[in-house]
Symmetry: C2
Subunit: 307 residues, 2 copies
């Protein structure tokens, strides 16, 4: 089953060198979710062949323009393209105030239901849960209120060991219970523990998104051991002072965070306009955490490598 992330924008606040402000698309079991929506996101979706009306929910980390200025245009285009499916939107309370003001002046009344849920930054919260995924928000350390997001695949039931199930004489009607962890008791009284008749499902995979933030580590618990971590790396180590001032991270810090959090793989992005070449940023992060890659627009990143 799919669990992957498409980078739509990899730039920090001043877009340069053909890079775009931040946005990422997540495909989990063919359910599409958008994380942040910088200016130009709707054009990037079209460019990379994503049908915008397949997106079911949008998560906005904070109200710096490079993370949400594409939202009003995207919502409006969904409306013009005839969407009627509800859309869930998660972000700071002020986001809805801005959108409502914009729609009031444009006299736009969306033809689809927009369900808005305000995020808060005083702890970790479960924002959304369905059969495919649970999404959590957690506070990051930025100049304005900002949350990261963690996407956890919903646990899957174990699969039946068909040979053993047949041998034990389990009736078909009992299969569902077996998968739910109920032991099978044969007519002769023999107990077959469910574990002996099933293969455990692969462990659920997880993706965490951290942009924008100082690498304070306050959020380490929320990203511990994820399969894929996206962490901003606006600057190189030589600009650490500037990173601290602006509540951003360096590539070195992003690598350290990935190492301490024990994640499987790191993707860095949110590159400052001062860097035309990105390899030095990659090298700096890899020196701390070898399994690191660059966020490249148009590229898909698989979450986990187990199935």
């Amino acid at each position: 089953m799919r669990f992957e992330m498409l980078v739509l924008g990899s730039s920090s606040a001043t877009p340069m060198f053909g890079r775009h402000p931040t946005a990422q698309l997540i495909n989990i079991h063919d359910q599409l979710m958008l994380v942040d929506c910088g200016e130009g996101t709707q054009m990037q979706l079209t460019k990379f062949g994503v049908k915008q009306n397949r997106i079911k929910s949008i998560f906005i980390s904070h109200l710096h323009g490079d993370h949400y200025l594409g939202l009003a245009g995207l919502l409006s285009s969904m409306h013009l393209m005839g969407r009627n499916l509800p859309l869930k939107l998660y972000g700071p309370a002020g986001l809805m105030e801005i959108l409502e003001l914009q729609f009031r002046y444009s006299e736009t009344s969306l033809r689809y239901p927009l369900h808005f849920h305000a995020t808060v930054t005083d702890g970790e919260y479960l924002l959304h849960q369905d059969e495919f995924v649970s999404v959590y928000s957690f506070p990051l350390d930025h100049r304005v209120p900002c949350t990261g997001f963690r996407f956890e695949e919903s646990p899957k039931p174990p699969t039946l060991l068909t040979d053993k199930v047949a041998k034990a004489g389990v009736p078909k009607a009992f299969y569902k219970l077996l998968k739910k962890g109920v032991d099978f008791v044969a007519p002769d009284g023999t107990v077959h523990p469910w574990q002996t008749l099933t293969n455990p499902a692969p462990a659920p995979r997880s993706f965490a998104y951290c942009s924008d933030t100082a690498a304070s580590g306050d959020y380490l618990k929320s990203i511990a051991k994820v399969d894929l971590l996206y962490h901003e790396a606006t600057f190189m180590h030589e600009m650490q002072e500037r990173a601290t001032e602006t509540f951003h991270s360096t590539a070195l810090q992003a690598g350290k965070v990935a190492k301490v959090a024990g994640v499987e793989k790191l993707i860095i992005g949110h590159y400052s306009a001062r860097y035309r070449e990105l390899d030095p940023l990659l090298a700096e992060a890899r020196a701390q955490f070898p399994n690191t890659d660059l966020a490249i627009e148009g590229r898909w990143y698989v979450v986990g490598n187990r199935n």
Copy 2:
């Protein structure tokens, strides 16, 4: 002296086929002005090699998202790139309310002066005048309050006919007066009318911008005889009913408007997402007004052909 217009975005509300929402750059005597600022304008400026901090003023026609959603990002990037030159902004009053709300949540305090002037739609107004250009706003006929803009080159003084000036014995100190239309009286009492000693300057050139609007013709007086008219042509004639409903124009109507207004040249744009190919729109407008061209992103259009 330069007077030309660069198309940055040519799409109507739903950007498609690599086209972008509306924006145009005007270069008049190397002074840069921006007209409308759809999503992605700052990236388009970079792509086409325009230094955004050379822009001195921005004119926003109305508050439909495809005409202004790139503004907050552009103003913010100007700030981040160290601008300190004042910027003049003209548009509906609500525009400043939206920007102020966005800047409040992003905790942005622009490092350069932003001078906002609200436009109104009850008549034609002179918005701006300097040694190079006068800019007028005039009401268009759209679903929300919307203005067009007319850019008129400031009149230039006549040039001296150096041979005749020398022969008449005009002293250098008198050259300025001659150019201002003062006759020269020689020491012997001979009157040399200034017209006989100068060449008239080329007539001032003008560019008018009409997007978005129904082709009601209410604005004909404001665009009469301009050298270059940009007029929206969202639809083909076969969609005229839809054009009327949505207060837009067809290519046929844009051509008719250009003909009746007696302009020199017409550029059409603001193409609906339903048209991949634009040649049929061009053919339809040219059938009414032969001197028509398509707005193509990245292309410069010279205003007038006199100098």
